[in-house]
Symmetry: C2
Subunit: 357 residues, 2 copies
Amino acid sequence: MRTIRSSLLVLGFAILASCADHKPAVESVTVPAATSSSGIGLPSWNDTPTKHAIVDYVARVTRLGSSEYVSPEARIAVFDNDGTLWLEQPAYTQLVFIFQRVHVLAPVHPEWNTEELFRSILKGDMNGVAATGEEGLTKLLAATHAGMSTDAFAQIVHNWFETAKDRRFDRLYTELAYQPMIEVLRYLEANGFTNYIVTGGGVEFVRAISQSVYAIPPEHVIGSTVKYKYSIMDGVPTLLRLAQIANINDGPGKPQTIEAVIGRRPLMAFGNSDGDQQMLEWTAAGSGARFAALVHHTDGEREYAYDKASKVGKLDKALDEANSKRWTVIDMQKDWNTMFVPVSAQPTQPTQPAQTK
Amino acid sequence: MRTIRSSLLVLGFAILASCADHKPAVESVTVPAATSSSGIGLPSWNDTPTKHAIVDYVARVTRLGSSEYVSPEARIAVFDNDGTLWLEQPAYTQLVFIFQRVHVLAPVHPEWNTEELFRSILKGDMNGVAATGEEGLTKLLAATHAGMSTDAFAQIVHNWFETAKDRRFDRLYTELAYQPMIEVLRYLEANGFTNYIVTGGGVEFVRAISQSVYAIPPEHVIGSTVKYKYSIMDGVPTLLRLAQIANINDGPGKPQTIEAVIGRRPLMAFGNSDGDQQMLEWTAAGSGARFAALVHHTDGEREYAYDKASKVGKLDKALDEANSKRWTVIDMQKDWNTMFVPVSAQPTQPTQPAQTK
């Protein structure tokens, strides 16, 4: 089994101990009424240099006859997910899923009561969980993400997202996507771009909601993967999920996976943490005009304010590089007049994941 | 390093010894004038039940109001490459590339003269090559597919394809795609399908020609992959190709990679060998109407006739399963009135691979 050091999950795992008693600075906030995203504008963006940087860049590469013109098939834009397209504080959504799954599964696993890792989770003792380290993480992966078919896992995740809520905002996790970023997705599509989500999270976890939340189809979600085992079970061809990491899509893994899956270097890249640094570097270093942007979490009132000192979504070296290379830094407080998607924008009937199976 | 037993390359490697003295049964053939593929018909297909099976299936799943209707975003069709979309006899094109690269690189590798593997290749002693086994293959991978940047490798492959010719047909390898299959690609696109190439060959090798030969963009090519290493070289972000296999996309690997990359089960699958069996099984086992087809090489005059006894593109168990499960079996001799693409259909200016870098 591949060592999962430095992976998103390890990071998230270590964070949990420090987050266990986390109290958001602002317990109750008023979420501003969302601006309509109809049309192809960027109404949730204030009229600041950041918005102009996006609009100007798109104009430069899409204007026919321009020396910087890029044909539509090469207009690839990549977006990190946690902290870039949706909330990642106080813990990555997938980590919340893992812990809640342990609670759900505990009744059929009486042996967990005598195992330190699971006992700690069930007692809410995050320090005890963190102390189990990578070995603990492997066990959690096996317990919550493996041992079932790909179809069964997709259904489990789908069902979880239907009711799982963030406590501070009292919203479903699927309602904590950033409205201004959704507008960027639509704006780029209207300008001939193809958008990909390039997440450190599990690819199937994000695919479960990519269409309903972002209108991005599963084949345009790139993420971390477990290994599958193809087998005929009771006469039925099945892909079984194994408790083995196949690919960790974080840090230098992001450009590597982009090359393996897309085979083109992106024109535009959006991230928010040091885990996105190499993806932005790789994008920005391409020939011609390129665009790299970091979402800087500066709004402790409407969301969270964090960067260099944060354990979740740490933004340190990438911020320094953004400043020295003049990448675009999106100041959430100053640049966005709306934070989250309007709740009414959520479809009442989420797509069944098994529909095309 | 992952064991590469049972991989396409190992298979191809073992084959070489038997192919070294291979003389095609027909040394010189007249390639029939290609039928124009303009429009969205299937002019190179004879009016046989096979053609009707394709047309009827497409009609069933695209007819609005039909109980078997499938929405366009779920209309995924997957195609094996070697032997399904283009010639694979007497040896896989990528294997020819490997051996020719060794000849090209030999002058700067004087040490190869004292190494049995390379000496055998340079002398044309294929039995000696095969005797080096997996260890030899690993060395060949390192010598020909690794140690350079992804951009540099793409350029090497691109340049090779510009002049490399098959001896029997005296055509560029890129001119040995099957015209009837190209028509199927276009026919499906015209009916709202998205086509993916799912090849056992290296993904970058096939991407080098996928747009110019098949009009399929790089992001719709899924294949075997080596590992990359992201690093900053002389200040430039670079993806270095390592001599390590990341994924072997053959046999059960095909449905596994399809799930990891696309995240949807295909509606239609086309293959030609036992390496495609699981991809066809996985496709056919989906809910609703599905379509699985094997290209059966039955035409020793115009191409090659082979199946169960062949070492290249062996079609044995998959053919039995096709017969028992009533998958469509394409009889190249009876079903196709044209074999290869018209030479004039090749663009005179192939796309430069580095264009979007």
